[in-house]
Amino acid sequence: MSAIERLTPERAKAATGYFARLARWNVYEILFWLALAGMYFVPNVDLVLMSQIFIWGLFAMSLDILLGYRGIPSLGHAAFFGVGAYVAGYCGKFGWTEPISALVLAMAIAAVVGWLTGKLVQRVTGVGLLMVTLGLNLILYDLVHRSTDVTGGDDGMQGIVIAPVLGLFRFDIFGRTAFWYALIIAFILFVIARAVVKSPFGLALVGARENPRRMIMLGAPVEGDVSRAFALGAALAGAAGALLTQTTQFVSPNTLSFQRSADVLVILIIGGTGRLYGGFIGALVFLILRDWLAAISPVYWYFWIGLLLVVVVSFFRKGLLPSLETLLNRWKPSKADGPTA
């Protein structure tokens, strides 16, 4: 090795190709989204449940940005969901009934809240971070819950009016509009999130997750990235909240309860972190099973949900999606990790 080896063009090409391949859409992804859209045509499917699955999936994906990519566990993620939900609610209540622009506004405000949260917690890690996010979530919940005059408190906000989407599609009681509206918004935001995590910023997030000390020694703005990740995650969570308000035309403190923060964490971990899809898979499995179990065993479904969690962590250590990937990879005869140039 005493003579220095030189870079060959093939090697250089292979390296660029490697990153390109990471960013490329593969067939499973396309199938996944087609399958979601296809649910609409399944006879007697519960469209409302499906739209709520998209919303939870989007919400879980927003947490994935923080937890899966940046390694920040947040126990208070519902706070951002709730901010989005209430912004959309106030819009609908005070005459800004057009849903898409209201959704964008909700995202923007949630992003600001997220960014400020990130600023506040950027030096805190581990358990401290969990407790700070949890505490902030509980404080916000309490505020909204008891400020009956401003928010309607526990009874929920009343008088929310949402105009038809694009002036054409009214939110109907069958949940048809809700289905497509939630799916399309979730998809668009997914595409954006996907691009972000495949971008240099995404790589930096993973780097900081893996080894913040080393990132500092690369001169990376690790703390600034915390606020940016929070802003991004919060914006997406806010979008999910706004979607919920708009599709149900109702908002209550429930949207920012600790229970929701815990549920979204559970959904994400069931699905698998660090892949964006984990949230959607988790939401599908968790909500459908919960709905089904609650229907067949209303009193004891807690038991079965608990058992489900225990089974998932016992047999699919890292969540359902990674296990699925392993399975798919096993089918494919020759799949190397990268070019073997």
Binding site: G153, G156, I173, F174, A294, P298
Partner: protein
């Protein structure tokens, strides 16, 4: 079609909470429905009654609204008992209105949630002012003029606080002080000391059923506040039969207002209680949810019988019910014609031991109290 009318069915959706802290609500509803159908059969007006049960999981409008949509659009439910809780009721209202599904509010007490929101809905529970106002009058009449008001710090609590203080002033009582107590709160001693410092004649309490209602009565007792001579009173939630045994003797002597007590002295009630206990056992004890469900079932059967032989018509169904007066195990009730809200007797009760069991014994009644 005409020929099919014999086996035509009516689907009744039951949307109650079956899980978690609030699971007792669903359990009571089920027990009552079971009792009712055992007594009156599973057909009404020639139509077979089919039940569709769903778990709202508590005050959770997102889930409740989805379930309402689901049972209305997919299960094609024609009548709905529930959903429970105010936020659930409010979230569901537009759908029930649009789909023309008559519903019964059996577990939400906020004012004004029936009528304006949905002309198809009927309340068989009660409205907050209905409970608060008579108690204020009763307190002042008995010489407890300086009243300290402690409510749970959430919308129903604020509602209750408002109506009670209003009524107290109207009855020329005075407010010795007021407190809003957080809903997630395991510790009352700071509050107890504050109430004690205020030296009031009576303490009015509104707490949701559960660890708060149990906790505050125990705290009132353990801290020595009760022994200091202050009169303890509140809405019936705090001494609800389903939880009163968990409070124990600390509840003795508490004065509450209520719409129903198993001790109510009427033939109809005696029969109801006897049958209920025979079918479902003595525990859990009968609470207000049971009576609200019972009356909802009663009206459903009556309304269906009234349109026997015809196709189910939601408008006629609602029209039949609204404006009706009838005798319930709780006493006479009237459903307001314009609003679908309820007018009923309100009882002042005191917690006593009857045959070794804590009971809400009626000591005075206010007739035909309105819902405003």
């Amino acid at each position: 079609g005409f020929g099919a009318s014999a086996q035509e069915t009516v689907k009744i959706g039951i949307l109650q909470s079956y899980s978690g802290i609030t699971s007792l609500g669903g359990q009571q509803t089920d027990s009552t429905v079971k009792l009712f159908m055992q007594k009156y059969g599973d057909t009404a007006g020639g139509k077979k009654i089919e039940l569709v049960r769903r778990d709202t999981t508590g005050p959770n409008p997102e889930v409740a609204k989805r379930l309402v949509q689901e049972v209305v659009t997919r299960e094609k439910v024609q009548v709905l008992i529930g959903p429970d809780y105010t936020p659930n009721t409010l979230a569901a209202a537009p759908i029930l209105m649009e789909a023309k599904v008559p519903s019964f509010v059996t577990g939400a007490a906020t004012t004004g949630i029936v009528g304006e929101k949905s002309k198809y809905s009927t309340r068989t529970f009660f409205a907050v002012p209905q409970l608060c106002k008579p108690l204020a009058a009763y307190a002042v009449k008995n010489g407890w003029k300086r009243v300290f008001v402690a409510v749970a710090d959430f919308a129903p609590g604020h509602d209750c606080e408002k109506y009670f203080i209003e009524a107290l002033k109207d009855a020329s009582g005075t407010l010795a002080g007021n407190l809003r107590i957080p809903v997630a709160n395991p510790e009352f001693s700071g509050y107890m000391q504050r109430i004690r410092d205020a030296k009031a004649d009576a303490l009015f309490i509104f707490m949701p059923i559960g660890e708060l209602s149990i906790g505050i009565l125990r705290a009132v007792n353990d801290s020595g506040l009760k022994a200091s001579g202050i009169k303890i009173m509140g809405t019936g939630d705090i001494t609800d039969e389903t939880y009163i045994d968990a409070v124990g003797d600390a509840a003795l002597g508490t004065i509450t207002t209520g719409i129903y007590s198993t001790q109510h002295d009427s033939a109809l009630n005696k029969e109801f209680v006897k049958d209920y206990v025979a079918l479902n056992g003595a525990k859990p004890r009968i609470g207000w949810g049971a009576i609200a469900t019972w009356d909802a079932m009663r009206m459903t059967y009556d309304a269906l019988n009234a349109q026997a032989g015809a196709k189910f018509d939601p408008d006629k169904f609602a029209a039949f019910i609204h404006g009706r007066t009838f005798e319930s195990p709780r006493g006479p009730i009237t459903i307001d014609k314009a609003n679908g809200d309820i007018v009923q007797n309100i009882y002042i009760r005191r917690v006593d031991k009857v045959n070794g069991v804590l009971q809400n014994v009626e000591i005075e009644s206010f007739k035909d109290v309105g819902f405003k």
